[in-house]
Amino acid sequence: MQLLLIEDDELVASGLVAGLELDGFVVDHVSNGRQASHAMSLFTPDALILDLGLPDADGMAMLRQWRSEGLNAPVLILTARDALNDRVAGLEAGGDDYVLKPFELDELVARLRALVRRAAGRSVSEIVHGDLIVRPSEGEVRLCDQPVRLSRRELTLLEKFLNARGTVLTEDQLKDSLYGMTTNVESNALNVHIYHLRKKLGRELIETVRGVGYRLGPPLSVSDQAAS
């Protein structure tokens, strides 16, 4: 799951990046409003973590502008402003959740997962796709009720496809969700992960859309797979 962290305090940001990456998130960090606007023009993350007190801009106003421009990704406001009117203003400006500093890392992770889950139209953490059941928070994947071991990146990639619900994802989007904006990856790294996913979960799980990218295949049952 790819996150954009907008936080001006480097010490807080480094702790957040480290903590979130431990839970399988891919985090791109920017430290001011200008960088945040630039990042948002390049990609749309699965969720944003926004600090309101940026040195060159007001986070609340930026959020309001992004929402007016059609941003649908969930936004978690992370701030030291604890006044009731700040919290109300943050949520009314387009924030989906409001977490006060300091916070529990586990709670932050759970809130982020819940935000992304709701944005994908699901009310429970479990994702069911035919015989495939994925529980992202536990890192658990079951196919035909049998556990399947996936690497962290494979799980991230699978979650990206499941949350996209059949929408075609470009290679760049998939690479960003795996490695973030700042990391250069080998050109065939994505193909290797897709190959492994297909090998472990079935060829029909991920369809190739020639010249565009990939998308999640239709949900299949055991009988369908046997037939194929």
Binding site: A18, G53, D56, D58
Partner: protein, 433 residues
């Protein structure tokens, strides 16, 4: 007691006193005038009888054993005509008892039997003509006059009191509106009071009150801003410490060591925020600052720039002179350092921050210049438009401390936008002596 009740009591009692005094005086005067009028009537009656006798002297030749003039006569003016020798020549029936030995003329009041009379005796060519009124008849006439006088007086009196009550009530209504407006306010409500069209006497009160509300509102907002900034400055390093400690619990080896180092860094920042707050508390106590009350510019600059994070971005122009300022070195150093740190924090990390110091006629001026975030001032303006605010923001505790030091040591602090798209912070302290 309410103002309205007090006014009504005071004015009402004054009204009662005045009206009663006026009524008393009027009654006494009227009583006197009625008595005089009745006396005049007696005298006129006697004169009229004398005129009749003069024209018709045969009237006095009536038999002496039956001198009745009018039969019967129970009220009104009684009349008796006597000869100089005291013989009753003529009389009304009611005057039978008026016989008097006195030959005096003029007015007299006498009780004859059980009846009190008012008499007037006229000597007409040796004949004594006496006319008389019963005092009971006079009293009933006077009582009638009092009743006629009392009714309009009472009506006017009650009407006056009613008009007084209405007038006071109407006159005090702006005051009542002000009372209701203030009485129904919640303690946190600092909106201006509006009582509509206030009278001239009340306008200064309402204006003063509203000005006070504005000042209190500003003070509350300033305190809230300070509390919010202080909370931010405390929570941020606390968040860093807590996050890195949580990460350290989940990892091993070098990442764990790095997380602990970061947490320690957060502790250092937290310590600094605490020290700044303590310094602010000491400054606001107003007690004498320990140590020398003067400092040199070069020492202040050295104090402000020692161990400064991102020190490579700072360019210092200390000036050719090295004047002495009337401010303790440690405080001047803290003020300059806080402004430098703010400038470093709130401008792009690849841009320099400049510190210049120079001496004026009475002040030493420090100018801390940052170059903003964007390449052009127009871009900065765009960001300000986006934020909906062009005010200086986010300078937290550090700026509050600078302002407190400046105010305590007769200095000044100003901020101006510069051509580079950043801000110039201008700090001045008075020259010693």
């Amino acid at each position: 007691m309410s103002l309205q009740r007090r006014l009504l009591l005071l004015l009402g009692s004054s009204f009662v006193l005045l009206w009663l005094s006026a009524a008393g005086l009027l009654y006494v005067d009227l009583d006197r005038q009625v008595s005089e009028t009745l006396d005049h009537r007696l005298a006129a009656s006697a004169t009229m009888v004398a005129g009749l006798i003069a024209r018709q002297p045969e009237l006095l030749t009536a038999p002496a054993d039956n001198p009745l003039l009018v039969e019967p006569e129970s009220e009104g003016v009684a009349c008796q005509i006597r000869s100089a020798g005291g013989q009753v020549l003529l009389q009304t029936s009611g005057a039978k008892n008026l016989l008097t030995n006195k030959a005096s003329t003029g007015f007299d009041t006498r009780t004859i039997g059980e009846t009190q009379w008012r008499l007037f005796t006229l000597n007409h060519e040796g004949v004594l003509i006496t006319t008389a009124d019963r005092m009971t008849e006079r009293s009933s006439l006077q009582n009638g006059i009092i009743i006629v006088m009392v009714v309009p007086f009472a009506l006017a009196f009650v009407g006056s009191l009613l008009a007084l009550w209405l007038g006071v009530r109407q006159g005090l209504s702006p005051l009542k509106r002000l009372f209701r407006a203030l009485d129904s306010r919640k303690p946190a409500n600092l909106e201006p009071v509006n009582i509509g069209d206030a009278p001239a006497e009340l306008k200064p009160v309402v204006e003063t009150l509203n000005n006070l509300f504005v000042r209190v509102d500003r003070a509350v907002r300033r305190e809230q801003r300070f509390a919010s900034n202080a909370a931010h400055e405390f929570r941020t390093p606390l968040t860093a410490i807590k996050t890195h400690l949580q990460v350290a619990q989940k990892v091993q080896g070098e990442p764990q060591q790095q997380a602990l180092i970061n947490a320690e860094c957060g502790v250092g920042r937290l310590q600094r925020v605490t020290e700044q707050l303590l310094m602010l508390a000491r400054l606001e106590q107003g007690s004498e600052w320990p140590g020398a009350a003067e400092s040199r510019v070069d020492q202040v600059i050295a104090e402000a720039t020692t161990d400064l994070p991102q020190a490579t971005r700072l360019k210092v122009e200390p000036g050719t002179e090295n004047p002495v300022m009337a401010v303790p070195q440690v405080l001047a150093g803290v003020a300059v350092r806080n402004l430098i740190e703010n400038a470093l924090k709130y401008s792009a990390s690849d841009r320099p921050v400049e510190l210049r110091a120079f001496r004026g006629s009475e002040h030493v001026t420090f100018v801390i210049r940052d170059h903003g975030h964007n390449d052009q001032a127009s871009e900065r303006a765009q960001i300000n438009d986006v934020t909906g605010s062009s005010e200086i923001r986010g300078h937290g505790l550090g700026l509050t401390i600078v302002e407190t030091i400046v105010s305590r040591f007769s200095g000044s602090l100003d901020v101006q936008p510069n051509a580079a798209g950043g801000q110039d912070w201008i700090l001045e302290f008075p020259v010693e002596g």
